[in-house]
């Protein structure tokens, strides 16, 4: 479903991604882990062109994202993204946050978008917050709304960029549960995370990145019990 070939990305002289090649099949849940500065977030952001790759090739469902004439907006609609700092629209209510893109981009009727929005809010357990403004929500609630907002566009792929890193510890669980439910439902997902336990339970595949390279690609069982590379061994020693 997602094919990446020799992807590199430089910021000025600093090469953050040094040639990443991989492919992700439909329904696969990938957890990206690695030390900070390893290029996990940059890799994720390249997948919907929030960062424009310096070189390399990305295709989604056979559509080449890196082609000069690619219909980027259309491909992006098919990829949801959840950010570390939520980025809810502060001047809109929770429900308006969710219905804005479907009505404005997909041309869905407001009534339909609202029905769908309420269903999504029920799914993330926030039906009672539909008319609240984001400033009235806790971090965990905001992140669940952000997930519902992305899902409202009915994407085939979801990208999570450290979704729990900005949360107080007691809120982490409520967000991870939502993500886990989503994983169980068969959604194709890439998750940058520091939650090793969650990665082990929820992911099908672990990508270990270090210094801009995809160092190891393994099942959670393999990776956490028998890491192959020295770098992964050292990393796991530090975080576990």
């Amino acid at each position: 479903m997602i094919n990446v070939d020799q992807l590199t990305k430089s910021f000025g002289k600093n090469q953050v991604l040094k040639g990443i090649t991989t492919s992700i099949r439909k329904g696969e849940v990938v957890a990206l882990i690695g030390p900070s500065g390893s290029g996990k977030s940059t890799f994720l952001r390249c997948l919907n062109l929030l960062e424009v790759p310096t070189s390399g090739f990305i295709s989604i469902n056979g559509d080449e994202l890196t082609a000069p004439k690619a219909n980027v907006a259309a491909i992006r609609q098919n990829i949801g993204m959840v950010f570390q700092h939520f980025h809810l629209f502060p001047h809109m209510t929770v429900l308006q946050n969710i219905t804005f893109a479907p009505t404005q981009v997909k041309g869905m009727s407001l009534a339909e978008a609202q029905d769908k929005g309420m269903a999504l809010l029920a799914k993330v357990g926030l039906s009672d917050k539909a008319d609240s403004y984001p400033s009235k929500l806790s971090g965990g609630q905001k992140q669940r709304v952000a997930i519902a907002r992305s899902l409202a566009m009915e994407p085939e792929i979801m990208l999570f960029d450290e979704p729990t890193s900005a949360l107080d510890p007691e809120m982490v669980k409520e967000v991870l549960n939502v993500i886990k439910d989503l994983a169980d439902s068969g959604m194709t997902m890439l998750i940058v995370t520091h939650e090793m336990k969650f990665a082990r339970e929820a992911a099908d595949t672990i990508y270990f990145l270090d210094q801009g390279l995809l160092v190891e690609k393994a099942t959670p069982e393999q990776f956490f019990t028998q890491p192959k590379s020295d770098r992964a061994i050292r990393f796991l020693e530090q975080v576990l």
């Binding site: 919907n48 259309a74 993204m81 893109a101």
Partner: protein, 489 residues
């Protein structure tokens, strides 16, 4: 000698050029007249702050009335033309005629040599006497008695030259309005003002502390005449009717109507501030509130839309757009608003042939100027919106235009609302500048009332209070809006 021949050649060349320059316009006017029918309507330019020659009848619908108007009406009806009156500042009259906005000027204008360089004059229809106005105890009764004194005169008036003719005068102060002259005498900044007889009568009538002393009339260069563009075909026609009026007594009849009794005893209002003199003028001034508000609204909306577009250019990352927006801001911020206003109003008809209405010119000038300031404010507001908002919108596939309008702008607007209110407050107050091109806003109306009452303070205090109330209302509305925008916090 060779040199001599060359000299002759130069002189004859120069003469030819001069002939062409001086007859050229005349010829073209005649050519126009030959091809089209004579105009039915003639536009007369006048500065209605000079009673009894011309003033705004503020107590009756703001119609312009006076001796000049009656004479113009008589002449034009004799000649079979319709009269239309265009009101503007005295200093702008000749420029307006040169740009073709008015066909002739009657505004108590003396036919001076200086003016004859740029316009043609009819025969004079009235000779005014110069008069010294000063405080009661001063006793200035001749030109000689003014030596060593500070002398005031209205800017651009013929009395300016008389003031300069005083030997050893300490200083000649030229002021825009008669009301300003009165004020300067009252505050002892000017020892005496030289004005003409009719004005002096009104000044002393309205201000009991002032007295007047007539100077001997000089018939040669003080005559009031009608000004026409160079080479105008109307001069001869008008002169015929003026001669007729002098013969058949019509002129004397009109003079008597407007100078009922120049020697009537002074009523003498001694109070420094007396609001009762505004009686009857208040509705006229209040009508200016609408003009001021309409004008502020137009320029604020124009400035905001244009400023938003400019700010988008500035953050577009496209070099030519950025350069354009930066140059625009630099020019409009770097030159005085008043200069921009005058340029737009006077240059547009000459460059494009479109006779831009004063209110439109003013709205345009203020809007363009305000856009330069607002573009910076709005740019700062947009930059202050969290970068993540943009990324979230992009990730959802929201197109640029919708993102800017629905996501970024509302948040930027909230950031800069106090700055926007400041700009609107400034616009309301700066709008008083538009009075110089004759827009009947609050300031202009106050000037008109000051000219017709010959009192300087009362009308100014009234409009100051009105401006203040307008600003108060605006700021409290803005506070309500801000509270509404902050409800999401």
């Amino acid at each position: 000698m060779n040199k001599h021949k060359l000299h002759v050649l130069y002189v004859s060349l120069l003469t030819m050029v001069l002939l062409i320059v001086s007859f050229g316009p005349a010829l073209s006017v005649f050519a126009e007249e030959a091809t089209e029918l004579p105009k039915k309507t003639l536009v007369m330019g006048t500065s209605p702050d000079f009673p009894p020659y011309e003033s705004v009848d503020a107590k009756n619908n703001g119609e312009i009335i006076g001796l000049d108007i009656d004479i113009a009406k008589y002449i034009l009806s004799e000649l079979g033309y319709e009269l239309k009156i265009a009101s503007m500042d005295f200093g702008g009259l000749i420029a307006a005629m040169q740009s073709g906005r008015v066909d002739f000027i009657m505004s108590g204008m003396s036919a001076t040599e200086e003016r004859k360089q740029s316009v043609d004059f009819s025969d004079p229809y009235y000779f005014a006497r110069n008069t010294i106005v000063s405080k009661k105890d001063s006793n200035y009764n001749s030109i000689e008695s003014l030596s060593g004194k500070i002398i005031g005169a209205q800017l651009g008036s013929v009395q300016e030259a008389v003031a300069y003719s005083v030997e050893d005068a300490a200083e000649v102060r030229k002021l825009n309005k008669i009301a300003d002259l009165i004020q300067e005498i009252n505050s002892n900044r000017v020892d005496a003002a030289i004005v003409e007889d009719a004005v002096a009568v009104e000044m002393t009538n309205a201000n009991g502390q002032l007295v007047m002393n007539f100077l001997p009339a000089e018939e040669n260069d003080n005559g009031y005449a009608i000004a026409f563009p160079k080479g105008s075909p109307y001069v001869a026609e008008f002169n015929t009717v003026i001669a007729q009026m002098q013969e058949n007594g019509k002129l004397d009849e009109l003079l008597l109507k407007w100078f009922p009794d120049a020697n009537a005893a002074s009523k003498g209002n001694n109070k420094l501030i007396d609001f009762s003199i505004l009686q009857g003028y208040v509705p006229y001034i209040m009508k200016g509130v609408g003009v001021t508000l309409l004008f502020t609204l137009v320029s604020a909306v124009l400035g905001f839309i244009l400023g938003s577009l400019l700010s988008l250019c500035k953050i577009s990352g496209i070099k030519p757009l950025e350069w354009f927006a930066t140059a625009y801001t630099s020019i409009f911020r770097g030159t005085p608003l008043l200069v921009q206003l005058m340029l737009i109003y006077y240059a547009t008809p000459q460059l494009t042939g479109y006779d831009i209405p004063a209110l439109l010119a003013a709205g345009l000038a203020f809007g363009l100027n305000s856009a330069a300031y607002l573009s910076e404010t709005i740019r700062a507001g947009i930059m202050a919106v969290d970068k993540g908002q943009r990324e979230a919108a992009i990730a959802l596939g929201i197109p640029y235009r919708k993102m800017m309008i629905s996501i970024i702008f509302p948040q930027a607007l909230r950031n800069i609302l106090p700055a926007l209110v400041n700009e609107c407050v400034a616009l309301i107050k700066e709008s008083s500048l538009v009075s110089v091109i004759g827009v009947a806003d609050l300031m202009r109306r106050a000037d008109v009332v000051r000219a017709s009452t010959f009192r300087s303070f009362e009308a100014l205090l009234l409009i100051a209070a009105i401006y203040y109330v307008l600003v108060l209302v605006l700021t409290s509305l803005a506070r309500m809006l801000e509270r509404r925008l902050r409800r999401s916090d």
